[in-house]
Symmetry: C2
Amino acid sequence: MSKEYWLPTGDLGIVIERADGRVALVNTTDREKLAVIDGLGDLSHASAVFSRDERYAYIFGRDGGLTKIDLITRAIDRRVVQSGNSIGGAISQDGSLVAVSNYTPGGVQVFNSDTLERVLDLPAIGKDGKASKTVGLVDAPGNRFVFSLFDSGEIWLVDFSKGEPVVTKFEDIGKQPYDALITPDGRYYIAGLFGEDGLALLDLWHPEQGVKHILPNYGRGEQRMPVYKMPHLEGWAVAGNKAFIPAVGRHEVLVVDMNTWQELDRIPVHSQPVFVMASPDSRQIWVNFAFPENKHLQVIDAGSHKHLTHLQPGEGVLHMEFTPRGEAVWVSVRNKNEVHVYNTQNFEKLASLPVASPSGIFFTARAHRIGL
Amino acid sequence: MSKEYWLPTGDLGIVIERADGRVALVNTTDREKLAVIDGLGDLSHASAVFSRDERYAYIFGRDGGLTKIDLITRAIDRRVVQSGNSIGGAISQDGSLVAVSNYTPGGVQVFNSDTLERVLDLPAIGKDGKASKTVGLVDAPGNRFVFSLFDSGEIWLVDFSKGEPVVTKFEDIGKQPYDALITPDGRYYIAGLFGEDGLALLDLWHPEQGVKHILPNYGRGEQRMPVYKMPHLEGWAVAGNKAFIPAVGRHEVLVVDMNTWQELDRIPVHSQPVFVMASPDSRQIWVNFAFPENKHLQVIDAGSHKHLTHLQPGEGVLHMEFTPRGEAVWVSVRNKNEVHVYNTQNFEKLASLPVASPSGIFFTARAHRIGL
Ligand code: DHE
Ligand code: DHE
């Protein structure tokens, strides 16, 4: 390994090159692409988490591949293909375990983060006795993982804090949870429902209280209007006591009071929102949109709910990621094969990097956060 | 440089060896001391910030020394002695500037974070025409620094977002601000007042509204009771919408509603609190105490306000730092020359490291946060 690579890891990140099974390694200080790492399989929908030392990225590929890449040597460290079709994963609070949720054959697999040896194969057999797809897998404080069973409508909590996993199940949480999020403090786990309106809420400080339904009108409503894409819940923006959430099918961002879970406001936006993300200082809300309106990007003030700017980076704005302290935001513009970097103060474009079919952007600072 | 040192920087940290002008380099994954770096001058009261790549630590010494150490080569990279008596500093949002506040001769100095060349010497000449000590210097979103003038009772905002610094002054904010904090989102700057009761609050989202007084009873009160140490404000624990703050002189932690700035509760504690700190999941509040009760450590539940545990690590519990995702907390036990690591789930001691007269503990994850 040459000294050229001798870099600290705090300002690194990766961008998924979705069409080619590669990831681009980037640096957020110099805003440059450092390397491209190849051979990760089908990354047509991929996400990533980081080891607690910010040296390794674990990438969850569409084909069930879990690839551990070394950001210092810029190479694949280990790779396993753990299922036929996976959708995402998480790393435990202490960094020792990586868990992956699967569509096919369903269930959750847990791996040792050093070796990628499997430590748990947890089939998600629901109350109905059938194997279920799992979604919305997140890590929670206390070395726990939480996820939802799409087919049987359950939320499971897997606690690794005493070594051996202990599973707690919450049944009848609602029809077809399709994605979920955990609030940045790791307290509330919220699942979006595909099969009915409303959201399922589990307060992890009080699991004994069970799962509640909130926002009964959140969803597609009676008319089952056309929805181009169910919005991603990862992107829920929590700013102070307000959550900004993408409306389903409507051209709106909903503002919800997180103390009462009541709707405070609806902000009209350009089209159907996909990701609604808060800047690290909770002051700006960035929104991207579903196809065919995905060349747009809107920015809303979290205090006044007014629009701050409307950018048009280009077709295929798929994902955004803020630098850890929020001075800039990186945006994937797939059809242009570019990642743009914008100054969050004045919305000027600071840089444009060549990245082939960029989608998810993940910076190493995620290593230090709960629930990503 | 040997390959032994070839480490990522995400799980590193430093501990100030206050008696010897040294810092210990530690690793939070293996819970070990990796090296000791010497020659930093008077560290009898020192604090630190990190570069955005988590490679360098900037240490603010009591003698006005600003030392930049390289965590990869484990050596001093650069050092300047910038004043006769300094008390703390901050790094700008974009990582390009390091600012230091001074007791003697007062004022603030700003340095290029790469070279430590001085880019601004800002004497803090108050409205009274005299040079003032500066305290409570923090970074704020938008490449700004905020600090208070002890002698003249002012808060100054220095905005570097357009290159040349622009200074905005708030006068008559209260008597003798002695320390300050900024909320984790970078919105509220709050200064504690030595010369009168109450606190000064500046909402950085609305600087045009000026500085308000909050918590009029916060302070030493009419009887001017003996106060062993004015509590540190850094340690204000913000958990959801509640702030947990050390009472002045009293054996209490105050709980304040951050929407209304009204007192919600007072939690009795062992003695006079110094630092009151929230775990990263906002669920636990850790409290240490002023001499002669500084062998104690109490932990409070942020939800119920009940006591969870009372530890006695040993004489001289000076500082605590949580690992970034909160599974453990590191505690300096000065008189034992030890740093203890506790599991935050069950309060078991996980490790004890030999560190000479340890005081402040600073982990590299601070690089990614606002206002530290
Ligand atoms: C359940 C789910 C997760 C959470 C994973 C986890 O638990 O970590 C997720 C995460 C993601 C994440 C990770 C977000 C994060 O911050 O962790 C990204 C970037 C992302 C970009 C896209 N997703 Fe995603 N996404 C779906 C589902 C999900 N996406 C779909 O069902 C849908 C609509 C169709 C599909 O292809 O599966 C879909 C299409 C997209 C896209 O079209 C996006 C915008 C671009 C792309 O590359 O496919 N999804
Ligand atoms: C104003 C101020 C700051 C904020 C600096 C900044 O702006 O970044 C600060 C920070 C600090 C920080 C940094 C906290 C952080 O999280 O950034 C620490 C660890 C700390 C440990 C102590 N402080 Fe501190 N401290 C004072 C003032 C301050 N201390 C005092 O006036 C006092 C009472 C007397 C003195 O010696 O100056 C004092 C005694 C102490 C201690 O006795 C402590 C516990 C142990 C020690 O080593 O001196 N102070």
